[in-house]
Assembly symmetry: C2
Homo-oligomer: 693 residues x 2
Amino acid sequence: MLDTLFNPKSVAIIGASQKALSIGNVITRNLLRYEFKGPIYPINPKADEICGLKAYPSVLEVTGDIDVAHISIPAKFAPMAIDECGKKGIKFVIINSAGFKEVGPEGEAIEKETVARAKTHGIRVFGPNCQGIINTDPDVKAYCDFTFTFPEPGHVSIVAQSGGVGAVFMQNIHDLEVGMRFYASNGNACDISIPEILRYYGEDEGTRVIILYVEGFSDPKEFMEAAREVAAKKPILAMRAGRSQEGAKAAVSHTGGLVGVGLSTELIFKKTGILTFTDQEEMCQAAMAFASQPIPRGNRVGLITDTGGPAIIATDALVEAGMKIPPLSEKAKDVLKEKLYPEASVHNPIDVLATGQAPHWRAAMDVLMEEDQVDSVYINFVTPPFVDCESVAKEMAEVSKQRKKPIVCNYMTDKPQWTGTTEILKSGNIPRYDYAEMAAKALAALSRYNDMCSRETGEVVHFDDVDRDTAQKILQGAKQTGRKNLSASDVYTLLGAYRIPAADWRMASNPEEAGKFAAEIGFPVVIKADSEEIVHKSDVGGVKVNLQDAKAVKSAAAEMEKKFGPKGLRFFVQKFMPGGKEVIIGAKAEPGLGHTVMFGLGGIMVELMKDVSFELTPIASGEAKEMLTSIKSYPLLSGFRGDKGVDREKLAEVIQRVSQLVTELPEIQEMDLNPIIAYEDRVFVVDARIIIS
Amino acid sequence: MLDTLFNPKSVAIIGASQKALSIGNVITRNLLRYEFKGPIYPINPKADEICGLKAYPSVLEVTGDIDVAHISIPAKFAPMAIDECGKKGIKFVIINSAGFKEVGPEGEAIEKETVARAKTHGIRVFGPNCQGIINTDPDVKAYCDFTFTFPEPGHVSIVAQSGGVGAVFMQNIHDLEVGMRFYASNGNACDISIPEILRYYGEDEGTRVIILYVEGFSDPKEFMEAAREVAAKKPILAMRAGRSQEGAKAAVSHTGGLVGVGLSTELIFKKTGILTFTDQEEMCQAAMAFASQPIPRGNRVGLITDTGGPAIIATDALVEAGMKIPPLSEKAKDVLKEKLYPEASVHNPIDVLATGQAPHWRAAMDVLMEEDQVDSVYINFVTPPFVDCESVAKEMAEVSKQRKKPIVCNYMTDKPQWTGTTEILKSGNIPRYDYAEMAAKALAALSRYNDMCSRETGEVVHFDDVDRDTAQKILQGAKQTGRKNLSASDVYTLLGAYRIPAADWRMASNPEEAGKFAAEIGFPVVIKADSEEIVHKSDVGGVKVNLQDAKAVKSAAAEMEKKFGPKGLRFFVQKFMPGGKEVIIGAKAEPGLGHTVMFGLGGIMVELMKDVSFELTPIASGEAKEMLTSIKSYPLLSGFRGDKGVDREKLAEVIQRVSQLVTELPEIQEMDLNPIIAYEDRVFVVDARIIIS
């Protein structure tokens, strides 16, 4: 669909200008400088010639076909320009000008008008308020953009909502001497969207890895569908920006009306199989490895070094990034003892010494390529002036070309002096890093991608034993009375309808009945004052726990009646559950997305240590299990220091039932099962809250 | 003392060679290439000329004075070479050759012999197994080293134990276009030590910031003394390597006989005022800021940007690094509204827009320089091809030269194209970063340094009320009986001698006496079987808690007697302390250093969450308080959600008393007060363990 946009045979620039410091002029110059393979038509009614090219007063005066037209004239003239493009039969326009939705209602109206007219002409719009696209294909060389980096052809494609961040990625990928395939930054995205661009990259054979930067989603579900589809084919690396409250605020203030980023972005990335980064440099450096190296089968690294200190730093960085440094086999050590200097270290890291020669390096690499317990190879290569480094590099390049296991190289040198060595490493597609830490993180990213691909999320189970009708009736009833915060009996009936286990309960309308029901349930019990007026029950004496007999229940209820008055007051009587561990499961609606579900251990683990896990609905069985195992305090659930664990199967089931519940009843805005008391073989909700829209 | 070493007027290379791939040849070439200002004397009995210089068969044949002689001949000839240097009156030798302590006992013997002979001649030895020194002073230009980076003069001095890591720092500082002052990597450090080099850098006016890399300490106390002295004068930035177990192992295996690194290194750095980093790049990039910018008075940052996305990323990175983004004053916003484009954002971050011109940038900078609630300025500068960037850069340079507040710049450009702009920024001493995150981290490092300088550690209190004699007698007694694990009565008597509060206790020799003592103490009590044979008391039924009367005590003791036999068995009776919060204070001897003291909340917070703090003895009052406040679960001590806190003053005092105790009784290897029960107004040790050497 976007083929013509990314592979134009001719480009017009409406608003091309002779003024050097203008966007129209910069785009014209960029196309010329990048040696675009087709004709370039500057459009300007007041000039005959721009940047040495014949200028035209209108696209209609151009005799040849035009595949893509830039519009870089003031926003208010955009609809008119669209009409002319329509008449000319142009199928794609890139609107670089600002002054649309991002400036307020007036601009928004112009944007709508522009899109509407484009639709009548069958024109697809890229932008407005955007940079544009770049295609590095030597047969195309389309630099339809006003940025300043002139990339070499390669296999990394970039799509960025923010042009500033996109430019940073493009520039730094270029500085790393990594080639690029496509670039796209679509600004306001009034028509051609990021999901559409992602899909185009997904189908493109030349794209091996995608770099993505988004600050929000106009249609999260569409994004997820596209991302999932593309991520199944090739790695997508993405930045999670707006992580801090302050950052999220900055994101919202600078773009026009998009959903704020943050947690839900992270969950979307995780669910669709996008590899997340929180640091631009780390992402660019990882892209270098993804563009040239195979994916490892695991996280076990073999290291080779010719200097001690950097090996310590690399080891620290690898371990901290989740990698393992396995010991080498006796066989491997025997080979190394025979082939390396006697002072060399034949353990992992293998130290060939600063004086190590090409055959030593080759022996070490060959050994690691053969070692079963090694999935990837990390090289620390300082270029000693007394060693024939080009010969060493040749061996590295040769081994890399075998593509048996991924290799990264912390290349410690003065590049202007070691150009020959650098070229050889480059010819072997060996990613080269200035710092041990970066090389380690890049390798860890490859391994993280392998983990993600082999992640077992399981299936989304559909529980047929639920009573959706009853649940819906409860919500309808609450809506009719205008109640947003459901009553205790509604909450527990609803949980019952979804077979979410709760401690046995009854709703009593007076102290006498409370006592009777308590006896039915069996002691001890807890009673809670139930009334719309009482919000923080326990703060005002509306909760009494561990009541041992009917008399205690009746007197507690009577006391509450005295305190709150009998009007609208009922008594929620529930089995009191001593012992067990408190856990929390909560859900919160995410507009356009579904719900986020939270899991954590109750009390200080949630409130103080923030030790919780999140997942987006619908939650599959494997995801539910991961929510349990991924919290730091998981050992308290699985059994810790002699303590017996709790029924994790059941907790995972409750998470999945909650997921189904909020998915089938989307009017639920918030839901808190807090706490759930978990025992070795059972779990019970003992307090719950549901808020509807 | 080291003045001649770092400022030699003449250099000889014993072992200079015509062979290009040899260390002696590389050093000779380096001195020539770097244009060393004095005569260079290659020493080689078999050559007349090396690298175009006249060669001498021996230093004794050189007619002029020699300040520094390299020795790069096989280790076994080093002592002989030293003798010749002595005869010649040379005062400093740099032994580059390997084959000394690092290769085993034989090499160690040669190293000892070399040092001994040097001493008789009054020669100071740098190395062996080392790179050497560099002085960039244009009047000296001493490249007494075989590395390959040729740095510009500047204000960063580097000292690194590992030559590999030192070379990485030097190269990357150079690549960042930051000038260097001195470089030193002293390998085995048989004579001239890192503390001595640090002191030399400390006294050098040209050195504004020191980069330090160590993997261990041969004399930790000497290091601490020197570091503290120098850190008081100028920033020392240091790497903490060997953090992971695997990394520490790698450190130990590659150097000769040094204390392993890890936690104690971090504590040494903290205590002496060294700024710690865990990432080489972050440290180099911070050094760039330290070398050129003033130190901020606080952590409040004002941002200026000309592009939205990078401002979000910068905000995230700043907040995550502990910085604050304060709102701007109304006055400031009014000025900005008047001076910037109408669509510009006048909040923090200030967005001057991509089309922002020099006067806009200047207005924004002036506003931030005047704002009281802003301590430093962060700039996001993408260089739009349609803006006069050189004029913008001139304003930045001018403001930076005022040195009112530190400025860092995330400089998003293609450097080969924007050379003019880059040069202007450079002339203004503005540190330039490729990524928003790096600029943010560098600024945060400046702020962290300010925090460190204004850290209130308080005084080391000496408690006069302790009874050291009694304590010493207890340890002597235990030593005489050969007991390493002190008995309960010894432990508690010792705690009493140092006025560390413990729950009231008695030691009973039979069940009858246990009952009697329990009555004296008051119920409830706990009793513990005390015998050298019983180690894990509670696992084997050697502990009974919450005993309510004498009868219960006697029968519990009798049962223990039945189980363990009466021989050597005594009964430790102690007041049972219900309620309260469990905390742990522990101490562990660190050879050559003193002790590390640990603090944490008991139970899962220590065992599962590893939420603990450490400090080295002697612990000052402010440090003790910091140990409490720096744990994540501190709110549990200070009062959390209605819960009352505990007596933190008293806990801080116990930490200081423990510090004094282990300092005055250094034979204590390990000490655990676990748990201490802390109440609102009191604390009591209820279990303790002391192990002596």
